[in-house]
Each structure stands twice: as structure tokens, then as C-alpha cells.
């Protein structure tokens, strides 16, 4: 990789980390100056653009967390949710409250009930006890499935949009716009069955967010995403949070947890909500 391409890639990665344009410009210029002075190839001097950008972003983030407006009213309140399958207890009494403008992450080992809890919050599954109160419109992104193999992405947008009361043109426009922000061209007439796993998940995610629901429940929506799209996904999450939506993300990837507002750990030994 030439130094020019490396610097270009660095700029893109820094932007994905939501660094301000002037900061991005400054970091790239400094890196370019260092390369000029040292005569070293960029890869040897800094490593990969992705790694260097992540390190820079982390360093800057630890220096000054951006000030955010205080969270709004409660959008989702799950109280004392329990669930058993036969003799196996999947969820012991579990609470979660998410305000407008907050992101909650649900983490835990495989089989600890993350998806079950989210499906209960969405009203797709009944708990054995407890209740969920939602203030606003729900959007739900399943872990997989959720699409028709033989329909085009735009037809999925029309289908979901009609449910939300949107006309066809608006549904298509919003869907395409949402896809574009995930680096995906959704208007190219490919049936869902021919999409890669990652692109199908992008379709799932765009469908969930169509019509701007107040509460977004996302069940590991980034499966199959490449690294760049994964970062773009989190940019989406931050943007939705800034717009005042309440977001719950089931995840097993822990590297974003320091940026979410609360973490609900469903691992049996460590049941807690960390704010």
C-alpha cells in the first residue's frame, strides 16, 4: 500500500470514528509530515490505518468525552422479567430502563437469554412474569431471517413502509438513504437470497429503522458486517441516540461498551446493570 493510499484510508477510518473534520485533517497532516521526515513506509511506521485510527480515536475519547444532552423521558421499561423453558431458567428477574437518547447494551455468554429478553421487550415472546412498558413506536431487528428470499430490498422497504403508513416513494427513498449510510447500494435489483450475509443484515437493519421508531431493539444486527460497516453501524447508533431515540443492542463484542450508556450483563454469575 502506498503512503498516499494509507493516508487516504486513515482519513476515512478517522471519519468513521466520528472525529471532527478539522481533527481528522490535523491527524492526517501530522502523519504525512512524520512519514516525510522519517522516510519510513506508512505501514511500518504506524501499522494499519484501521489500527492507527482506532488508537487515535481512543486516545482522544479518553481525553474529553463529548458533552451530550441529558437523556429524555423513559421510552422502555422492563420490570422483573423472568423466563423458563421447561425446567431451565433462562431469565431470572431482570430489569431494564432506557430513556430517550440512551443506548443500552445487553451482553452475556451464549444461551444466557439475550435474544429472549429482547424478544420479550418487543412483545414477540411472553415472559413468565414481569411487564414491559414502551413509550412510542418500536423497531426490531432480528438476529437473522426477517426477510423474504425472493423480494428485492426496495420491495422490503415498501412492505415495511406500508405498515408504518409511508407511501411507496417515501419508503423507497428512506430505505435507499439508510442503505447508503451503511455503504450499500440498495436499488440495484438483487433479490434478498442473493445478498451476502452481511448485506442481508444491512437490509434487516434498514427495515428496522424505517419510519424512525422511538425505540430500536437490535439483536446482534452487525453479523457478517466487515470492519468498516461495523464502525458505520455504531455511527448510526450514536446518531440515533443523538436524535433522541432509545436503543437496545444485543452484543457479544465488547469494544464499544465504554461508549454505551448502560450495560445489562445477563451472564448468570454477573447479573447487573452498569451505568
Amino acid at each position: 500500500m502506498s503512503d498516499e493510499r494509507w493516508l487516504h484510508a486513515l482519513g476515512q477510518e478517522l471519519a468513521r470514528h466520528r472525529l471532527a473534520p478539522e481533527v481528522t485533517h490535523h491527524v492526517v497532516a501530522e502523519a504525512a509530515a512524520h512519514l516525510r521526515d522519517s522516510g519510513q513506509p506508512a505501514l511500518r511506521a504506524f501499522g494499519t490505518p484501521q489500527g492507527y485510527a482506532a488508537a487515535v480515536a481512543e486516545s482522544l475519547a479518553s481525553q474529553h468525552r463529548p458533552h451530550r444532552r441529558p437523556p429524555g423521558r423513559v421510552r422502555l421499561r422492563a420490570s422483573q422479567i423472568t423466563k423458563r423453558y421447561g425446567r431451565r431458567t433462562v431469565l431470572k428477574p431482570t430489569d431494564l430502563t432506557v430513556h430517550a437518547g440512551e443506548v443500552a447494551a445487553i451482553v452475556g455468554a451464549n444461551g444466557c437469554g439475550k435474544s429472549t429478553f429482547l424478544r420479550i421487550c418487543a412483545g414477540l415472546l411472553s415472559p413468565d412474569s414481569g411487564e414491559v412498558v414502551v413509550d412510542g413506536v418500536l423497531g426490531y431487528c432480528p438476529q437473522d431471517g426477517g426477510t423474504y428470499d425472493f423480494l428485492l430490498p426496495e420491495e422490503h422497504f415498501v412492505l415495511v413502509g406500508a405498515g408504518r403508513g409511508l407511501d411507496r416513494a417515501r419508503s423507497r427513498r428512506l430505505g435507499r438513504a439508510g442503505a447508503a449510510t451503511l455503504q450499500w447500494e440498495a436499488g440495484d435489483g438483487v433479490q434478498a437470497r442473493h445478498l451476502s450475509g452481511g448485506t442481508r443484515q444491512k437490509l434487516n437493519l434498514v427495515m428496522a429503522a424505517l419510519g424512525e421508531p422511538d425505540v430500536l431493539l437490535l439483536d446482534e444486527p452487525y453479523q457478517g458486517f466487515d470492519r468498516g460497516t461495523y464502525l458505520d453501524f455504531w455511527q448510526h447508533v450514536w446518531r440515533w441516540r443523538d436524535e433522541g431515540r432509545a436503543i437496545v443492542v444485543v452484543t457479544h463484542l465488547l469494544n464499544q461498551l465504554d461508549q454505551v450508556d448502560q450495560v445489562l450483563d445477563l451472564t448468570p454469575a454477573t447479573r447487573e446493570v452498569a451505568a
Binding site: I81, I120, C121, A122, G123, L124, L125, S126, P127, G130, E131, V132, V133, V134, D135, G136, L138, G139, Y140, P142, G145, G146, T147, Y148, D149, F150, L151, E155, V158, L159, V160, A162, G163, R164, G165, Q191, M207, A208, L210, G211
Partner: protein
């Protein structure tokens, strides 16, 4: 509008399954040609083949949608939008499949058959088959079990003695009766009871689909929406 969108998307999805469409046409055709030497049998088998094809399509359409419908409910659809939309799609598909076979019989044996009654029998076969397939799909979540139930039903319908009174509880007895009226030029009582049976069975099957779908896609009582 929502109902029609569901119907449209179900039809779009089915129309892209070219292999399925070919088989949908092949099934009644084989049934017809297999007994072409015997007019009555060929027409009755054609009607049964048509009903079989449509109910199988409805069964699989039901299975395909099972995982997606919960998210559509969350997206603002009511249960009846979903099952009625799919039912409309299956009726349209069934009539599209039936039309060339009506033309085939009209050309092949038009002089020997009451064509108006044959058209009614075909429409009734499609009308009954669509909710019947959806009903099996709603009652049995796995497609293999559903397919076997359908196979048993059709086999029973084929093998059972027509004089046996139990035939009246089989789903496609109506089109058989009207088929007999069309082919054997029997009295109008065959037409009347066939129509009555078909309409009643369609209403009953649709009502059961409605009940099962509404239960499956119901709003769970633990989830409340705050008053705004």
C-alpha cells in the same frame, strides 16, 4: 392498502419462483392427462390436482412468512392484514393457474362438458384450496408435517368411495360434486350442494386461519404502550 401490499408482495415472491410455477402447472396437467381416456375421471383428477397445487403453494407461503410476520406486526400491520393479504394472493395465483386448464378442457372436450359448471368447479377448487393450505400452515409450524397432512388429505380424497358419506367432510368434495354435474349432466342438486359445501368450507377454513393467526400474532399482555 396494507392488505393489498401484503398480497402484492406475496404474489411477487411466488412469481419469481419459476420452478414452483412450472410444477404448479404440471401437477393438474399430469392429473388430467393420466386419465384423459375417461372424461369424468380426468376432470375430477384435474380439479383435485388444481386444489392440491394451490393448497401446497398456500402451505409453503404460510411457512415462508412465519418468521417475518412478527416483525411486520411490529411495523404496524394487524393480523388480518397478513392472513387476508396472503389469502387474496393465493386466490389470484390459483385463478391464474386454473385459467389455462379451463381453456385446455374447453378445447379438448368442450362439447361434452358443461363449461359454466366446470368454471364454477375450478373457481371453487381454488377458493377452498387457498384457505385450506393456509390453515394447515397455521396449525402445523413445520413444513414437512404440513406437506404430509396435505398428502394424506388428497390421497384420502382420491381413494375414498364416492358413495361413502364421509366424503362430505373432505375439503374438496364441493368441486367433485360440481365436476360431476359438469361431466355427467346430473341434476342441479349436485351444483347447489357443491356450492354450499365449498362456501361453508371456505368460511370455516378462513375463520380457523383467522383464529390461529390472531393467537400467534397477538399483542402479548405483558407489553403495554404508554399513553401519549
Amino acid at each position: 392498502m396494507k392488505l393489498l401490499t401484503v398480497a402484492e408482495m406475496a404474489l411477487r415472491e411466488l412469481s419469481r419462483r419459476r420452478g414452483v410455477l412450472l410444477l404448479l402447472l404440471a401437477l393438474p396437467l399430469v392429473c388430467y392427462l393420466a386419465r384423459r381416456d375417461h372424461l369424468g375421471q380426468s376432470i375430477r383428477f384435474l380439479l383435485l390436482g388444481l386444489a392440491w397445487a394451490v393448497s401446497t403453494s398456500a402451505l409453503f407461503a404460510s411457512g415462508t412468512s412465519r418468521r417475518i410476520e412478527p416483525r411486520l406486526r411490529l411495523s404496524g400491520y394487524r393480523s388480518h392484514h397478513l392472513y387476508l393479504g396472503r389469502l387474496v394472493a393465493m386466490w389470484v395465483l390459483g385463478l391464474a393457474v386454473a385459467a389455462p386448464f379451463f381453456a385446455l378442457v374447453a378445447l379438448d372436450r368442450g362439447g361434452e362438458v358443461r363449461l359454466g359448471a366446470l368454471a364454477a368447479a375450478m373457481v371453487l377448487a381454488v377458493t377452498v384450496a387457498a384457505p385450506f393450505g393456509l390453515l394447515i400452515g397455521a396449525a402445523v409450524p413445520r413444513e414437512l408435517e404440513g406437506t404430509l397432512i396435505l398428502l394424506v388429505t388428497i390421497s384420502l380424497q382420491m381413494m375414498i368411495d364416492p358413495a361413502d358419506s364421509i366424503t362430505r367432510v373432505t375439503p374438496f368434495w364441493s368441486s367433485r360434486e360440481i365436476g360431476t354435474y359438469a361431466v355427467d349432466h346430473t341434476g342441479s342438486e349436485y351444483l347447489t350442494r357443491g356450492l354450499l359445501h365449498g362456501v361453508l368450507f371456505t368460511v370455516l377454513a378462513t375463520a380457523l386461519v383467522a383464529v390461529l393467526s390472531t393467537i400467534r400474532l397477538r399483542s402479548r399482555p405483558h407489553l403495554r404502550y404508554a399513553q401519549r
